[in-house]
């Protein structure tokens, strides 16, 4: 169980997360749903240790990972996080993007790191791109490299922030397949999205976040099917409008 307890995060006076608590079961796909600006990205930044927060505890299997304002020490790399823009290292090839951190942080010899990276790229079906630079890849390929790079550090939990953004429908299906394969390998996923169809197809558990608070949670994406909260109804309405505009 990955537990987030009483997490509060402020930016100056703006409260991004207000006493946020949630429990994410391991070995399955957790989907966080909410309108943009509801605090999803902030939540991920806090869980991953990227940003300090005022209050709260992050626990994994009963071990405290991060507590309150304590300096973040992530030497165990329990949490992996794929940022929204992928942010690949522009000056390094795909292979070097994957091997850089294992070599520097885990002191893995280059040969071993590269062997593992090739395995990972094979799994992601982009082994033929190993010597290309990030700018030569399509958005979908960049995303797969970013995911592979995060997994190279052997995280137990992987955070994906809005992975369907800027993906074509076919690529969304491919991503769903990739995500399911990752879970089958024993990884826990926490995915944030405002794409309802995507959430519906992959979610084992879903959580609705509104204005920095957890509104409700459910198995599968049930909270979207018979929405009892006006916030969720409004969200669904907006999303449907947005999608119809796109068509």
């Amino acid at each position: 169980m990955l537990k987030v307890k009483h997490l509060t995060k402020r930016y100056d006076t703006h409260v991004a997360l207000d006493d946020f608590s949630a429990e994410f079961p391991l070995g399955c796909i957790n989907v966080i749903i909410g309108p943009s600006g509801c605090g999803k990205t902030t939540l991920f930044s806090c869980i991953s240790g990227l940003e300090p927060f005022e209050q709260g505890v992050i626990e994994y299997n009963g071990n405290v990972l991060i507590e309150g304002n304590r300096p973040v020490k992530q030497d165990t790399h329990v949490i992996g996080y794929v940022l929204q823009g992928f942010s690949l290292f522009a000056h390094l090839t795909v292979l070097d993007n994957l091997t850089l951190a294992p070599r520097l942080v885990h002191k893995l010899p280059r040969k071993d790191a590269e062997a593992r990276a090739r395995e990972m790229l094979e799994k992601m079906h982009i082994l033929d791109k190993q010597h290309d630079y990030p700018n030569q890849l399509s958005g979908g390929q960049q995303q797969r490299v970013a995911i592979a790079r995060a997994i190279m550090m052997n995280p137990r939990v992987l955070l994906l922030d809005e992975p369907t953004n800027a993906l074509d429908p076919q690529l969304v299906y491919a991503l769903e397949k990739t995500i399911k394969e990752l879970v089958a390998d024993g990884l826990t996923l926490i995915v944030s999205t405002h794409h309802m169809g995507f959430a519906d197809r992959i979610a084992d558990y879903s959580y609705f976040v509104h204005r920095g608070e957890l509104l409700t949670a459910s198995e599968k994406a049930n909270l979207l099917h018979n929405p009892q909260y006006p916030e969720i109804q409004r969200f669904i309405q907006n999303e449907e409008e947005r999608v119809s505009h796109l068509d």
Binding site: F89, A90, H91, L104, Y133, A150, M153
Partner: protein, 231 residues
């Protein structure tokens, strides 16, 4: 067959050779040391090295806002170094301050997201700087850096003022001795232009090998005007 001044010019050439040796050795020493020092100051000024920002700021502003000649006078008259050493020290101070500003622009052009990604992967501060920040920053500023090195090559002529025999001093000596201003002037100018061209093409080559496939966009610092754009 040849005009008579040709002989005088040929007689004057050895002096230019001697001057060129000084110019080159000043250029290479000040270039290497100034570049390394400039990178360190740039890291301080962009806060990658914690808590030295005010110091780095002062260093840069000090040597950018005092004429190179006055810096030279400081080492020559006040600290009483020999002309060559004073010139070298002044050029190092000058080059490092200007390089620092150029490198800083490259460092600050880095997307915050990439830094975040590296931190998520657990890279230490030093690893982040040596594997991510500096390589990318330097690749982005190569054209401006070339410009900076050309300015350094030209500014080595400052040692003329403390009587060190460099190319400019050789020009003055020769032209006074043989009374041939333009001929010797164009020899001196030719030497400086050749040096500048070598620098330009060396950097182009560097750019070709590091940037072509990566397609890293160059950064032009806002306060750096008039980039030489050789045809």
């Amino acid at each position: 067959m040849f005009p008579t001044w040709i002989n005088a010019v040929i007689e004057g050439l050895p002096l230019f050779g001697e001057g060129l040796r000084t110019t080159l050795s000043l250029f290479f020493q000040a270039g290497v040391i100034g570049f390394v020092l400039g990178c360190i100051v740039a890291l301080g000024k962009s806060r990658y090295i914690p808590r030295v920002y005010p110091l780095a700021w002062f260093y840069v502003e000090l040597f950018r806002n005092i004429p190179l000649l006055v810096i030279l006078f400081f080492f020559y008259y006040a600290l009483q170094f020999t002309g060559y050493v004073a010139g070298l020290l002044a050029l190092i101070a000058w080059a490092s301050a200007f390089t620092a500003e150029v490198v800083r622009a490259g460092i600050e052009s880095l997307e915050e997201e990439q830094i975040k990604a590296a931190r998520l992967l657990g890279l230490s501060r030093f690893q982040l700087i040596s594997h991510l920040v500096m390589p990318q920053a330097l690749m982005r500023i190569l054209p401006v850096l070339a410009n900076q090195f050309m300015n350094l090559a030209k500014n080595t002529s400052i040692v003329y003022f403390v009587g060190v025999l460099d190319v400019t001093y050789a020009f003055e000596q020769n032209s006074a001795k043989y009374f041939l201003f333009f001929q010797f002037f164009f020899i001196a100018l030719g030497i400086y232009i050749t040096l500048c061209l070598i620098i330009i093409y060396a950097f182009r080559l560097l750019e070709y090998f590091t940037k072509t496939r990566r397609a890293i966009k160059p950064v032009i610092p806002s306060d750096d005007q008039a980039l030489p754009e050789p045809a």
